[in-house]
Structure formats: structure tokens, C-alpha cells
């Protein structure tokens, strides 16, 4: 490699001379050719490296040659080729598998080369970034809006003082309104950081107050960045953010560590240091006259060390209060990196305003999260609320009906590759499958246990473990995908903070639909009337010609069917496994119990309480969802102490005992 570089340099000099000598006069008069300019930097352009390219680009751009930005752009895009035989640069066009060289100045095609005769110039990523940054001011006025936007991105990535002027100039001519707004914001950011006068910067910083974009917060954070400092006295002229009080703001040991790190105090002797020093001075089974076997307490070890100290074999130990004295003799502070106190103050104020706005948006985001979790709980629990609340039957296999629904969705997707159509088929099919399963279970098992509710719990648990294992045997233990169609896989985002995935919106809508549907069925239809009649007085209902058997069967089927649909919905954003239902069953029960049994509104209230509570607790301790769940369950246990019948409780004789 190095040899080739030398060779090419050796070749270059005569070539430049040749160019200068044989320059066609007419072209030179109208517009100076680019090739000679390039040849001045031939070596750096042919073998670009990040460390050397900066001045070259600067020099090229300083020439103000009209073709230079075009060249640099092509060069960066690896569209420039070098002909080693004479060191000239060419543009190239690919036609089929062949390359066609184009003269840089005339644009005329040059003879087709063999692949050995030319080499492509490949600037590495670092070099390309340099070029892109250098081209930014030119790109800002490019005709193509996409290129202007790309230039703005480049500025946002690596901001510099030199970009202020071209950016400001380009705003006036900007025609795209969105880009114009973006340019103006970017200008504010740059001004806040790099403007030459303080008043300009202060204005810009004030303009950033309340701006929650990551860019704006980044700038403000950078302006208010601090470093820790320690000194005998507060340094004059430093922009001190805060003076730290040892004992309150930081422990004495931490303060001392800082002194040690700053070289202002000798390191403390740790227990391990002490032991190691003693170990180096063992003489005939003793250290400093203390026998080894007695060195198993700190007091004896110190005694041994002091003996060594008196003998002069080790340096003196720090006196007990030396650390305290050293700490007391110094001030500890944090200092702004930004020297101007008015700038930092303005930035702090702006940041505080931003934090307030941020808090509001975070609350909004939390509400969205809570809402979506509440709708999931609602969907998972509402079927249970019907069977448990209306019929007094506890169905431990409810979670397995959710799972069954999800697997139905998975199987449908195996046969129908279009996700939208398969979803439209899976939803009703899941209802039908689980409705059937529910009716079968009611007819075969639950019907015989209406007088023994606790045994229903156990029998349905038996069904639950059998179904779970069955699913494992059929579908295997690994998670199966249930893929959402594209129109459901995006997200609705308001800004950097507030956003919600479309799938969760869909689940929320689904929950609303079910709420409305159930209210309609229970209040406005014959079936609902009969269900309520059987709930309140089965004997009387039977004597009026309502068949309680049929009603129980339908109610149970309805509850199970809804579980199936909930399963499809849950499967879309969580994984489909044989255990997915078990993960929801306890929460579902708690939703029903907390909400109050036998009431759709109660379930809604329970789901909302549990959903929002869980998100709320997670907010306080975001790293630990396990803890959030633990505390939520504890809360529910306590809640039931005070409202044993749930939020929406039936009162009086109708509530029974």
C-alpha cells in the first residue's frame, strides 16, 4: 500500500505540470477547470483519511469553484474513480456491468476502461461524516427538500458555531413550511449554544423553555452540565453550581474519596491494606511481636501495625481524626462547565420549565398506559365477571379459554396468510370455539356443581391444568406468533413523550365495544332480562317459563366466548403460549372481586383501578414491575378489608349473605 502511495505521488507532480502547460485556453477563460484544483490535493483525495481530510475540504471549498460541492458529494458517495496511470479523477456511470468514465470538467464520456485500469475511491465513514458536515451550508439551500432535511439532521447531530450563519441565511429562502419551522428551531438551539453575544444566547435559551424535544433538552442539559470539584477554598471566577456540605450532601467517606482522587489527601488504609502490610512482615510466626493466631481481630492487627510503626518498618498510620480534619479543611462543590453564570441560570430556569411540561406529558402518557392496561384487564375479566358474577360460578379455566382464543388466531393465520383477513376471521371464530367449549363445560361439569361453589373452583381447576397440558402437547412449549396486520403495528405518537401503540388503541376500542355490547345485551334484550331474572330468583324465573338451564348455558357460553376474543386481542401484543391464560387469571379474579360482583360497571371500575394502580406504582419504581405487582396485590388485599363487596356493591337483602 505504502509503495503505491509513493508511486502515485511520484507520478502526480509531472501530471500537474502537464495539465498546467497544456490547458486549453478557451475553457480556462470561461471557468477554471476543477481537475487541476483536485490534483493539488491528489494524494489526500485518492487515499482519504479522517485525520488529514479536514484542511483539504476547507481548501477546496475556499476555492469557491461552482463544481466543487457536486464533486465532493459524488466523492463521498463513492462515485469518483481514480486512473492510477495518470492520477486523474473521473466520475463514473454504470451501464449494465460496465463502467463508463466521465470527464469531470467537460462531462464527456471517456473511453471505457478495463476494470484493472481504474480504481474506485472509497472514503470511510469518518471521512464521509466530515464531508457531509462541510457540505451542510451548501445543502441547506439544495433544491431537493429531502437533501435540505438531511442537512438539518446533520446539523442536529453535530452542531457547530460555524453553522449559525448559513442556517440563518437559508431560512429566508426556505419554501417548505415544515422545514422552515425546523430550521428556526435548530437555529434557536445553535444560538443558545454558540451565539457570540450573551444577550442573543439568553434570548434563545428563554425560547427553549418548555420545549420537550430531546434535542432541546440535550442542549439545556449540556449548558447546565457540571463537574465535581474540591479545593482548599472556592476558586474565584468559577461558575459554582452548588457547594456540598460533607455529612449532609455527601458522606465523609465519599468526601474523602474525592480528596484522594484529587490528590489532596493520602488514601485511607483499608482493612485489606492493613492485612496485606502485616502479611509482608511476618517474622517467626508473629507480626510486631503479636503472634499470628491472635491477629483475627482488627484491634490486635492495629496493635501489631503500631509495633511495626515504632520499629520504623512501616510508614505511620493515619491518625483517627485525620480524615475528618482533611475533609473539614476543604470545600466540596459542583461547578458548571459553562463559565457564564447568567447563561447557566437562564438554562436552569428553562430546564425547570421544561421539566414541568415534561411532568404533565408524562402524566398524560401514564394515563394512556393505564387506560390500555385497564382495557386489557377489562377484556380478560369481563367474561369471568359474567360467569362469576351472574351465575356465582368460579371458573378457574377462564384463563385457558383466553389461551384457546389466542391459539385459534394462530391456527387461522397458518391457513390464511393475509393478516387483516385472518384477524377478521379469527375474532368470530375464537368466539365460536370458546363459546362451544364453555357450553360443553357447563353441560358436562358445572351444571352438576351449582350447589357446591368451592368444588366448582376445584373441578374447573382440573379442566384448566388438563387444557394447559393439552395445548402444550399440541402446540409445543415455545411461544407461537400471532402477528398483527400492518395497520395495527404502528404507534400513535403526539411527541417524544406521549405515544401509544396502535394495537393498544385497538384493544381499548375493543373493550369499549364489549362494554357497550354487554350493557345492551343485559339491559335491552330478552336474553338479558332472563339472565337477570335467573340471577335474582331462579325458582321464580323457572315458574314463569324461563328455562334456567338454557340461560345458564348461554351465559356461560357468552362469558367463555368473550374470553376467546380477549385471547386473540392479548395474543396480538403478547406471545401465545400455553401458560398465557394462567398469567391473567389471578388478576382477572381480583378485577372482578375489587369491582364488585355481578355488575358490568363494577368490572370496569375494578379493571380501571387495577390498571391505573399498577401503572402508577410502576411509575414510582420503573425498574421493577415485579415489585409493582406485589404492592398492587397487597393494596387489593387491604382494599377488600374495607370494601368486602367491591367498589360497586349491591346492598340490602338482594346482596344475600
Amino acid at each position: 500500500m505504502r509503495l503505491t502511495a509513493l508511486l502515485s505521488r511520484a507520478v502526480t507532480m509531472p501530471v500537474i505540470l502537464a495539465w498546467l502547460l497544456f490547458l486549453p485556453p478557451d475553457e480556462a477563460g470561461a471557468q477554471p477547470a476543477l481537475q487541476p484544483l483536485l490534483q493539488e490535493h491528489q494524494a489526500e483525495l485518492a487515499r482519504p483519511s479522517r485525520s488529514t481530510i479536514g484542511p483539504v475540504i476547507a481548501a477546496l471549498l475556499a476555492s469557491d469553484h461552482p463544481g466543487i460541492t457536486d464533486f465532493l458529494r459524488k466523492w463521498e458517495a463513492r462515485e469518483v474513480y481514480l486512473r492510477p496511470e495518470d492520477g486523474l479523477f473521473f466520475y463514473a456511470e454504470k451501464t449494465g456491468s460496465r463502467l463508463r468514465l466521465i470527464d469531470i470538467d467537460s462531462g464527456a464520456a471517456v473511453a471505457e476502461p478495463g476494470s484493472r485500469e481504474i480504481e474506485q475511491i472509497r472514503p470511510n465513514a469518518g471521512v464521509r461524516r466530515e464531508v457531509a458536515a462541510a457540505l451542510v451550508p451548501f445543502e441547506l439551500n439544495a433544491a431537493d427538500p429531502a437533501r435540505r432535511a438531511a442537512a438539518l439532521d446533520a446539523i442536529a447531530r453535530s452542531a457547530e458555531a460555524s453553522q449559525i450563519a448559513p442556517l440563518r441565511e437559508s431560512i429566508g429562502t426556505e419554501t417548505d413550511p415544515a422545514l422552515k419551522i425546523r430550521k428556526e428551531r435548530l437555529l434557536t438551539l445553535l444560538t443558545a449554544q454558540f451565539a457570540p453575544t450573551r444577550s442573543e444566547r439568553l434570548d434563545a435559551i428563554a425560547g427553549l423553555a418548555g420545549d420537550i424535544s430531546i434535542e432541546a433538552r440535550g442542549v439545556l442539559n449540556q449548558l447546565t452540565a457540571t463537574r465535581d470539584g474540591v479545593a482548599a477554598a472556592l476558586p474565584a471566577g468559577a461558575n459554582i453550581a452548588r457547594v456540598l456540605e460533607p455529612g449532609t450532601d455527601l458522606t465523609e467517606a465519599q468526601a474523602h474519596d474525592r480528596l484522594v482522587a484529587a490528590g489532596l489527601a493520602p488514601p485511607r488504609q483499608t482493612a485489606a491494606d492493613l492485612r496485606d502490610v502485616l502479611a509482608q512482615h511476618i517474622v517467626e510466626g508473629a507480626v510486631g511481636g503479636v503472634p499470628l493466631h491472635r491477629l483475627n481481630t482488627t484491634a490486635e492487627r492495629i496493635r501489631a501495625y503500631e509495633a511495626l510503626e515504632r520499629a520504623g518498618t512501616v510508614p505511620p498510620r493515619a491518625a483517627p481524626d485525620e480524615m475528618a480534619r482533611a475533609v473539614a479543611a476543604h470545600v466540596f462543590y459542583t461547578e458548571y462547565l459553562q463559565p457564564d453564570p447568567r447563561i447557566t441560570q437562564a438554562a436552569e430556569d428553562a430546564l425547570a420549565a421544561t421539566t414541568r411540561t415534561l411532568g404533565l406529558y408524562q402524566v398524560a402518557d401514564l394515563v394512556l398506559d393505564g387506560l390500555s392496561l385497564a382495557s386489557i384487564f377489562f377484556l380478560a375479566a369481563i367474561g369471568l365477571a359474567i360467569t362469576f358474577g351472574v351465575m356465582g360460578v368460579i371458573n378457574m379455566a377462564h384463563g385457558e379459554f383466553i389461551m384457546m382464543g389466542a391459539y385459534t388466531g394462530y391456527v387461522v393465520q397458518l391457513f390464511i396468510p393475509d393478516y387483516t383477513i385472518s384477524l377478521l376471521i379469527a375474532l368470530p371464530l375464537a368466539f365460536v370455539v370458546t363459546f362451544g367449549a364453555g357450553v360443553a363445560m357447563e353441560r358436562l361439569v358445572i351444571r352438576h356443581l351449582y350447589t357446591r361453589p368451592l368444588e366448582t373452583l376445584l373441578a374447573t381447576f382440573g379442566i384448566s391444568i388438563a387444557l394447559q397440558q393439552l395445548a402444550k402437547n399440541v402446540f409445543g412449549t415455545q411461544a407461537r406468533p400471532l402477528t398483527a396486520p400492518d395497520w395495527l403495528s404502528g404507534a400513535l405518537t403526539l411527541n417524544d413523550i406521549v405515544g401509544i401503540s396502535t394495537i393498544r388503541v385497538a384493544i381499548f376500542v375493543l373493550a369499549l365495544i364489549f362494554l357497550a355490547l354487554l350493557l345492551f345485551i343485559l339491559r335491552r334484550t330478552r336474553l338479558g332480562l332472563e339472565v337477570r331474572a335467573v340471577t335474582q330468583n331462579p325458582g321464580m324465573a323457572a315458574s314463569m317459563g324461563i328455562n334456567p338451564d338454557r340461560i345458564n348455558m348461554l351465559t356461560f357460553g357468552l362469558g367463555s366466548g368473550i374470553a376467546g376474543i380477549a385471547g386473540v386481542a392479548i395474543g396480538l401484543y403478547a406471545q401465545v403460549t400455553s401458560e398465557m391464560g394462567a398469567n391473567y387469571i389471578v388478576q382477572s379474579f381480583m378485577t372482578v372481586v375489587v369491582g364488585g360482583v355481578g355488575n358490568v360497571w363494577g368490572t370496569l371500575a375494578g379493571a380501571s383501578l387495577i390498571g391505573f394502580l399498577q401503572k402508577g406504582i410502576e411509575w414510582f419504581n420503573p425498574s421493577n414491575t415485579l415489585a409493582a405487582q406485589t404492592y398492587m396485590i397487597l393494596f387489593i388485599i387491604l382494599f377488600i378489608q374495607f370494601r368486602p363487596k367491591g367498589i360497586v356493591a349491591l346492598k340490602g337483602r338482594a346482596a344475600g349473605d
Binding site: R275, T298, R301, L458, V586, A627, I636, Q641, P644
Partner: protein, 394 residues
């Protein structure tokens, strides 16, 4: 229920001959296993088999406790396995601490300077908690070096938890299915709590190496297994005797009354909540003891053991064995847990149907689940109910 013709002044053993039968059979079984065991007798039973049998006896003990709280007092607790686990954790802490202490002292014995107590403690902490990224001994482990204190905790921790939880739940008259769900929530909360790494009990790693009993390391596992088997048998015998006495007299009469008609017992002037609390707490304590004997034989305890499903299985054993009779609980627990390890351990031969081969490791749970439905539907009195048919037939 005994023979009703006898006056109430007779001793409870005379009124309930089944207790003597049970104790006799348990003694014979213990003797038989001892004679056949690897550690003592003819070596026909492997050490792991002796351990499984010892563990089964512990499960029988907690099943008896479950039967008292559910079968007799009518509280379907889905949380008693939590107490079992807590007992295991309490003893496991001492086992793990003392064993690690031994290892640490041994490894530091060759250091040029003997270690201080602090250095030993730090080394133990690093050994035990390195796996969850900590090197400090949590406050929870303050008494882990004391066998006496940890044994006290075996009783105290499940007892106190049951007392507080029971007081809250019974006071607000949460009954029936609601109470079951509440106990299930308690279990879930506890297991989720233990799953966290920073709660001082090693998160989902749990406590391990519990089969190595400090101070007895020179003995072979076959001997230790037999000792624990004897201890488990003794505990089951004593627990059975205690609960049989508890339920045989007027106390048993009252709690069965609570099971059948809580309001009526209340109007007779009994403070129902206190009775439930006594039963709930006592059974929780016995469950904790059973757990403390079980986990040194199992060798490891982790939060998954406390998951709600374990407590439901406990209810399943009791239901299959037959509620409201203590020997029913023992039969159910022994039968189902042994069958479970036989089927899932690959002991059962595959069934070839021609078009499909039933592999029992996959199909056992299906069989158990459906079998359980069948028992609930057709034999609500469980296997123990079959004894009635034998006894009551003229």
C-alpha cells in the same frame, strides 16, 4: 367421627380408633423403609427413593393441615403452600449460611493471617449473594448463623403471617370463594416478592445446597436421608395425633359447625372469627414445620415453589383423598404426589395406540386434571369415602 354411643368423657383415642390404626401403619411403613433403605438395611431402596418418601411424608403432613382448615373448618385456603415455603426458607437460610461459613473458614485457613469475624462475614455474603450482584448480608439474615433463631422463625414467620392475614380477612367477613381468591392473591404477592433479586433471598435462584447439613458433612447422604425420613415420619405422626385430638372434641364440633353454617354458630355465642383465626394460624405453623423438614431433603427452594398453583395442588390432593377425614388427606397427598413423580419421571410405560403413542410425561397432567374433575363429580367424598362404603355396609 367415631362411635357416637360412647359418653363424652372417654379419651379421644378410644373415640377415634382410626388414629391408632394410622399411627400403627405409619410405624410399620417407617420400619419397612428403614430395613430396606440403603443407609441402614438391605439397600433395596436407593437414597433418592428414601428422600422422595421422606418428602412425601412432609407433603402428607401439610395435607393433613389443609384438611383441618378446609375439610373441617370450611376455609378453602389457596395459600397454605406459602407457609410451607416460608418454613423452608427459614431453615434454608441457616443451612446455607452455616455451610457457606464452613467453606469460607476452610478456604481462609491457609491465609498468612487468620481472618477477622468481619472478613468471614463479608466472604460469606459474597459467596451467597454474588449471584444476585450483591456482597452484603441483608438485614433479613441477621440471625442466619443461629439454628435456634431460624428454627423459631420456622414457626414464627408463617404463624405471624397467617395471624395478620387471617385477622384482616376474617374480621371483614370475607368468606367462601372470595376468601379463596384472597389467599391466592397473598400467595402470588409473596412469590412475586421473592422473585425479586433485591429482597435478600436470592431472587429466582432461591436457596440451594440445602441437603448438606452443617456439622453432619462427614456422614453419607444415605444416612442423612434416613434421619430426615424418620424425622418426617415422627412429625407426621405427631401432627396427625395433634390434629385428630383438635378435631375430635367440642372444638372440632364447633369448627365443623362453622363449616356447615357459620351464622348459626355465631348465634350460639361463639366468636367465629377467633376460631377461624386459631385454625388458620395453627395449620399455617404446622405447614411451616412440614416445609422446614421437606426442603433439606429436596435440597433447593425457590420462589416457584410458592406459586399459587402449588397451593391449588394441595387442595386437589385433599379433595382426591377425601375431605373431613385426616387419613383421606394423607392418602390423597401420598397417592397423587407419588403417582405424579412416577408418571413424570418416566416410570410409567408409554401406551401405543397404533396411530399415536401416549407418552406419560406429556399426558400425566391431562390425566390428573380430568381425573380430578371425575372425582369432584362422582366421588365428592374422595378415596376416603370408599372406606365408608366398606365400614357402613352391614
Amino acid at each position: 367421627m367415631g362411635n357416637p354411643d360412647i359418653t363424652p368423657r372417654q379419651s379421644f383415642l378410644a373415640r377415634t380408633p382410626s388414629v391408632l390404626w394410622f399411627l400403627g401403619l405409619l410405624g410399620l411403613f417407617t420400619l419397612g423403609v428403614t430395613v430396606l433403605a440403603e443407609g441402614f438395611g438391605m439397600a433395596l431402596l436407593s437414597t433418592s427413593m428414601v428422600k422422595i418418601l421422606g418428602m412425601t411424608l412432609c407433603l402428607c403432613l401439610i395435607a393433613v393441615a389443609m384438611d383441618v382448615v378446609w375439610g373441617y373448618c370450611g376455609i378453602l385456603s389457596l395459600g397454605h403452600f406459602a407457609f410451607f415455603g416460608l418454613g423452608g426458607y427459614a431453615i434454608g437460610m441457616w443451612l446455607m449460611y452455616a455451610r457457606t461459613e464452613g467453606i469460607v473458614i476452610e478456604s481462609l485457613a491457609n491465609a498468612p493471617i487468620p481472618p477477622t469475624q468481619e472478613e468471614i462475614t463479608n466472604a460469606i455474603a459474597t459467596q451467597i449473594f454474588g449471584v444476585v450482584g450483591s456482597n452484603e448480608l441483608p438485614a433479613l439474615w441477621t440471625f442466619a448463623d443461629s439454628l435456634a433463631m431460624q428454627l423459631l422463625f420456622v414457626v414464627l414467620v408463617p404463624g405471624l403471617l397467617a395471624l395478620v392475614f387471617g385477622w384482616l380477612a376474617f374480621r371483614s367477613r370475607v368468606t367462601g370463594v372470595y376468601l379463596s381468591i384472597l389467599t391466592q392473591a397473598m400467595t402470588l404477592a409473596l412469590s412475586l416478592y421473592l422473585f425479586q433479586n433485591d429482597t435478600g433471598l436470592r431472587g429466582n435462584n432461591g436457596l440451594s445446597g440445602l441437603q448438606n447439613i452443617p456439622g453432619l458433612l462427614h456422614l453419607p447422604q444415605s444416612t442423612i436421608a434416613l434421619w430426615f425420613f424418620w424425622a418426617s415420619a415422627a412429625a407426621l405422626g405427631a401432627g396427625y395425633l395433634f390434629f385428630a385430638w383438635l378435631v375430635s372434641g367440642k372444638f372440632g364440633s364447633v369448627i365443623r359447625g362453622i363449616r356447615d353454617n357459620e351464622a348459626r354458630v355465631r348465634f350460639l355465642g361463639y366468636h367465629v372469627e377467633s376460631y377461624k383465626l386459631v385454625v388458620f394460624t395453627l395449620t399455617a405453623v404446622i405447614s411451616g414445620l412440614a416445609g422446614a423438614l421437606y426442603y433439606p431433603q429436596a435440597g433447593i427452594i425457590n420462589p416457584a415453589e410458592i406459586a399459587p398453583i402449588a397451593s391449588i395442588y394441595l387442595a386437589v390432593w385433599v379433595a382426591i383423598g377425601g375431605r373431613g377425614r385426616l387419613y383421606g388427606a394423607v392418602i390423597g397427598a401420598a397417592l397423587v404426589s407419588l403417582a405424579s413423580s412416577w408418571f413424570t419421571g418416566g416410570g410409567a410405560p408409554d401406551v401405543n395406540l397404533g396411530f399415536y403413542t401416549i407418552n406419560w410425561t406429556d399426558w400425566w397432567l391431562v390425566l390428573l386434571g380430568l381425573g380430578f374433575v371425575a372425582v369432584t363429580l362422582f366421588f365428592p367424598r374422595g378415596i376416603g369415602g370408599l372406606f365408608d362404603l366398606l365400614v357402613r355396609k352391614p
